[in-house]
């Protein structure tokens, strides 16, 4: 049985999103990361920074969450509770994926010129800085009992297709 928290929605408001994007911008410049993507465990894109388009970031989110989730089944088989970091290294590019709160994952993409130690350092630092903002959003989501869409949506959904 896993905690109830795994089902908590992340409700980001304008202010939080702006703050996160600001921080991402700063870290992008300082760390020489190419892109930073914030996502949740179900693979939804929450925020991004860098040159990638939203469409690509969305695909990265789905795959990163998939990789992370599969890695955690591996962890369990090995008797670990959770692997909190996965790292993939290529010829030109690296991606570092880390769990920063109960629900949120941070993916940072780097060129290969940076040593692994530096990548770890920047990923950790970025994660630590945005963690309180996301935790605040999670807390708010948990206490939000009011429904977002209240009215009958039957007909609206018919019209969408």
């Amino acid at each position: 049985m896993e905690g109830r928290l795994s089902k908590v929605q992340i409700v980001l408001n304008e202010e939080e999103l702006k703050k996160i994007e600001e921080l991402f911008g700063e870290f992008l410049a300082e760390s020489e990361a190419r892109d930073i993507v914030l996502l949740n465990k179900s693979g939804e894109l929450l925020a991004k920074s860098g040159d990638i388009t939203s469409d690509v970031a969305q695909n990265i989110s789905a795959l990163a969450a998939g990789v992370f989730s599969a890695t955690n089944e591996l962890a369990r088989l090995l008797g670990e509770k959770e692997f909190t970091i996965t790292f993939h290294q290529g010829q030109e590019t690296n991606i570092h994926i880390s769990l920063i709160t109960q629900n949120a994952l941070l993916a940072m993409i780097f060129d290969n010129k940076l040593p692994i130690g530096a990548i770890r350092f920047w990923a950790k630092k970025t994660g630590t800085e945005i963690k309180p903002i996301i935790e605040q959003a999670e807390k708010r989501a948990e206490s939000q009992t009011q429904k977002v869409i209240n009215e009958d949506v039957e007909k609206d959904i018919e019209d969408l297709f």
Binding site: V11, L12, G43, Q58, N59, E73
Partner: protein, 192 residues
């Protein structure tokens, strides 16, 4: 877990197509991809074996349009149905908002359908999900084939209490594919 982005006024939902091997899950997503291309946002990603069987998952991001001022986004996934991918399947189901269970109507698939449904319920319970309130739609697929179970029989196997809405489908020809998607969308949006 649905994600509400108040800044962008977007709500995103994860929907998983679950079911036994070869029941037609990937075929559903492929049909959606080719039928409503204007709603596809990004790439259709398929992580498959060399023989086109799903190895990890398929992923199709959709942007349907807006309701009450919120843009509705869906992320559709399929699980790999083959038995050996049990844990991969479980990992794809995690944190989902709704499920389409694609059953194979063929008589010889009777037990596989039942086992797959049971496996799904067990996974949900293990995740701590409330099985009673989880949006689930059934799709009885491959109705075009000759040796198939009757609807009564399928209902008896998978939907004894008539708890779930079901569709008879021929995914290969697109019959009731969009209707199934529409039905699960209604359930997840109503729950948000």
């Amino acid at each position: 877990m649905s994600t509400i982005n108040f800044a962008k006024r977007e709500i995103s939902f994860k929907i998983v197509y679950y079911g036994p091997a070869m029941s037609g899950k990937t075929t559903n997503l492929r049909y959606i991809y080719t039928t409503i291309p204007e709603k596809v946002k990004g790439d259709f990603t398929s992580i498959a074996t060399e023989t086109e069987r799903t190895l990890f998952f398929d992923f199709l991001p959709l942007e349907l349009g807006s309701i009450k001022g919120f843009t509705i986004r869906l992320s559709l996934y399929t699980v790999p149905g083959q038995y050996i991918y049990k844990l991969t399947r479980k990992s794809v189901l995690r944190a989902t908002d709704g499920i389409v269970f694609v059953a194979d109507s063929q008589i010889e698939k009777k037990q596989e359908n039942i086992d797959s449904f049971q496996d799904m319920i067990e996974n949900l319970i293990e995740f701590g999900e409330n099985v009673e309130t989880m949006p689930i739609i059934l799709q009885y697929n491959k109705r075009d084939l000759p040796n198939i179970l009757s609807i009564e029989e399928l209902q008896q196997d998978l939907n004894k209490d008539n708890k779930y809405q079901y569709f008879e489908a021929i995914a290969q020809e697109g019959i009731n594919v969009i209707e199934t998607l529409k039905a699960v969308t209604k359930l997840v949006v109503q729950k948000a």
